[in-house]
Symmetry: C2
Subunit: 455 residues, 2 copies
């Protein structure tokens, strides 16, 4: 996007100018992670890496943006010249999209000249926040539908169009079968689906005329919305239309329920459809659904085939953000040697050093525990952070969305059941390696004196 | 944005094709409104109109988008040709940005060929949802800070970059003094502000070195972050830096508190600053703030001058969407005569006809009640919906953001106090005019037979 170089917080640039003036060759490592799980969640799903890598590879400052910065009378000529030639040259370790992860585990680890690492902060946080939040919510909805289908219908209520696109992408990764969002379908090659609105039915003299007209045009792609006036009368009209289609050798795809008691209604409608030899007509449900309502519906044996889920999933309404943070963990000295660092603020302590996540499985292949350790430690378990970008260049082929989706599906199989419950949180064990524990303790002591030391 | 024509739900297009085949000259009126207030809110603040009008004036279907639609094998050649020449030709009545409004009151009223009115649905809903949700939340934060300053710091946690930009705009309208988001500053001419991050302090050998370096470069623009290691030790360093600046005839702008007990801390820090003749140094507070926490802080007389509010405001975390809906209220017959229509679904009944909102003030100028009536009724009160677009052309000069902000400020003054309380909801009276009541009753009766009528 044009001008995206300015999608940052002003302080990134003021700090960057200070780094430029005083120590632009200093390197640093930053971790992007979250300290806390949102309520009811027991795990996160990583999403957003592809956007981040593309942004980093393309980032540069155009002249219009530079002119704006100059007009602020905050920045030196030298710094603006530096920005005009800016190129991200750092190295990125990251979790794969579709990876399951937990609090305190880095999703993205950046090692770069500190000035570059600082400038990219806001974009990285914003991107991981949105996409991980939605993927984490959507996978809950997907778990709730079990073997039924679920579609993203959130575009009209997402927080802007960028969120609408990313919600479709993240929920497809999570296992949704498609989206109503046409631009997302085009952008990400996600199947697109749709039914009809109440206004469509209301624009005709009669509901039957509305249904007939639609099915004449869209034939086997028709899903008829029943509740504009009355669900059961709507069903009578839908059956007439289905029988008309049968005469042409066609099958009505489905009917949609959008209000009322969906358990009672879906059972009654299924019964009537079956009595009319319309066993093939699917029941589609929508209307303010979320994982809890879907779970309830299926527990009551509601014979619903597909769910359209909008706002609650696309906005992750019950927990609309992930408290992602971006913290420095090491910084190089004048000799180019990396020294670990950490923050001491009460309740906000961070882990120092260049870290890796090691995942340990039990004998049956289920996730048993993770160890957060240092990169150069030899620890049991599979290292999860992989090198996605080296010296500013993407060094791995992006997986397709279907590959990411499949990867997540397999990860979910290996996550023990109790972490997949919808209402109860279980804490997955993330242990700190002995070496990282020792480093943290030692550094804490050393830093407690640092803040009062003179220059 | 390129390809924004496809930012819609597939069903807009399938319905549009059906309209194209059967009745493309039929006109309709749609209302965009919300049935319910989010929790704790007693009113909404309108925001998003400018984006909608620009979108409507520019909307067209480019060939890449048309090729994608063709590839779906759902659409006829004739309909795709129609789209290739698409232009919105309708008329828009709307609430001004910065207008205060209530449930069931249309924010946007569209009268257009039904096919056009249908195609624009998702964009309109998405835009009003985001901007109105954030403006409604932000004005609560602004009310909480009273005569103190408040800034938008939300970019890093908004749901995507579009939300980041619009959050800055809507919160500025609501009364924030600026944003940390540089691109929003450029796009909307909003003042931009910033301080420094913990990582900045941590990248130096000592906190004092970090503070000194920053203040040497940014001089009177410096706000020093105190809590990287320890707030009170941080303050000692900040005082040393302030005294150094004084020697150069400069004044340190402020210090920032980002963790800990902000009441106790701000009082202590104010006392120490004052004892050091640094009465001019401002105290800036941040760290997971929202209107409730700000209210609490100021009630305890915390001497905080400015608040930086991020996620809670920019994402409207406690209520991250407005349940905006887009409902047809009248449709023309073959003779071009408009006939009112409405939806009967249980709990989802709509009001028919072309409506206007009439606002009645008491003798002191305070809002007393609104009447939702028909446009051609002669009713007491000021009509709030104005004609913003006629036959596809914007017909009013966009107000500046500062004008919108001022307009909202004056509206807030006229809103009685009880509706501005943060924790208790009061229901503002929105009455239905006798004529609209009668129309609704009569139509309801007539429609109850419609759904079963044949073609």
């Amino acid at each position: 996007m044009k001008g995206i170089c300015l999608l940052l917080d002003l302080y990134e640039l003021t700090m960057a100018q200070s780094y430029f003036e005083t120590k632009k060759d200093i390197l640093a490592t930053f971790d992007l992670f979250s300290r806390n799980l949102p309520k009811n969640r027991s795990f996160f799903v990583a999403s957003g890496l592809e956007d981040i890598l593309r942004y980093l590879e393309d980032l540069s400052f155009d002249s219009e943006s530079l002119n704006f910065l100059e007009s602020q009378k905050l920045f030196s000529r030298g710094f603006l010249d530096y920005l005009s030639k800016f190129k991200f040259t750092g190295t990125i370790f990251a979790l794969r999209e579709g990876e399951i992860f937990f609090p305190n585990e880095p999703i993205i680890r950046v090692t770069a000249p500190i000035i570059e690492a600082q400038i990219i902060e806001s974009y990285l946080l914003n991107t991981i926040n949105l996409q991980t939040t939605v993927a984490t919510k959507a996978v809950r909805c997907v778990l709730a539908v079990k073997d039924k289908g679920i579609y993203d219908f959130s575009l009209r209520r997402t927080q802007g169009f960028d969120a609408g696109l990313k919600a479709a992408r993240s929920s497809y990764i999570a296992g949704c079968k498609g989206t109503s969002n046409v631009l997302a379908g085009k952008t990400y090659k996600i199947p697109i689906v749709g039914t009809m609105a109440h206004s469509y039915v209301m624009s005709f003299e009669s509901e039957l005329e509305a249904f007939s007209t639609f099915s004449e045009i869209f034939s086997e792609n028709s899903i008829l919305l029943l509740d504009t006036y009355d669900n059961l009368k709507g069903l009578e009209n839908a059956i007439l239309v289905a029988k008309e289609l049968e005469k042409k050798g066609k099958k009505l795809k489905g009917v949609r329920l959008d209000s009322g008691d969906l358990v009672r209604l879906s059972k009654k409608i299924r019964r009537i459809l079956d009595k009319n030899q319309l066993n093939y007509v699917k029941i589609f449900a929508s209307g303010n659904l979320d994982e809890y309502k879907i779970h309830h519906l299926l527990k009551q044996d509601a014979p619903i085939d597909d769910f359209g889920v909008g706002t609650n999933m696309g906005v992750s309404v019950d927990s609309p953000y992930t408290d992602v943070i971006y913290k420095i963990s090491e910084v190089s000295n004048k000799d180019g040697q990396f020294l670990p660092t950490m923050k001491l603020s009460r309740g906000k302590v961070t882990y120092p050093g260049r870290k890796q996540i090691y995942r340990i499985k039990d004998k049956d292949g289920f996730y048993k525990e993770d160890i957060l350790g240092l990169e150069d430690e030899k620890l049991e378990g599979e290292p999860l952070l992989f090198c996605a970008m080296k010296d500013g260049r993407i060094i791995f082929p992006f997986p397709t969305l279907d590959e990411i989706r499949q990867y997540l599906k397999e990860n979910l199989k290996r996550l023990p059941l109790k972490f997949k419950e919808l209402k109860r949180r279980s804490i997955y064990p993330v242990k700190i390696s002995p070496l990282l524990q020792k480093l943290t303790r030692d550094l804490e002591k050393a830093l407690k004196t640092r803040s009062t030391r003179g220059i």
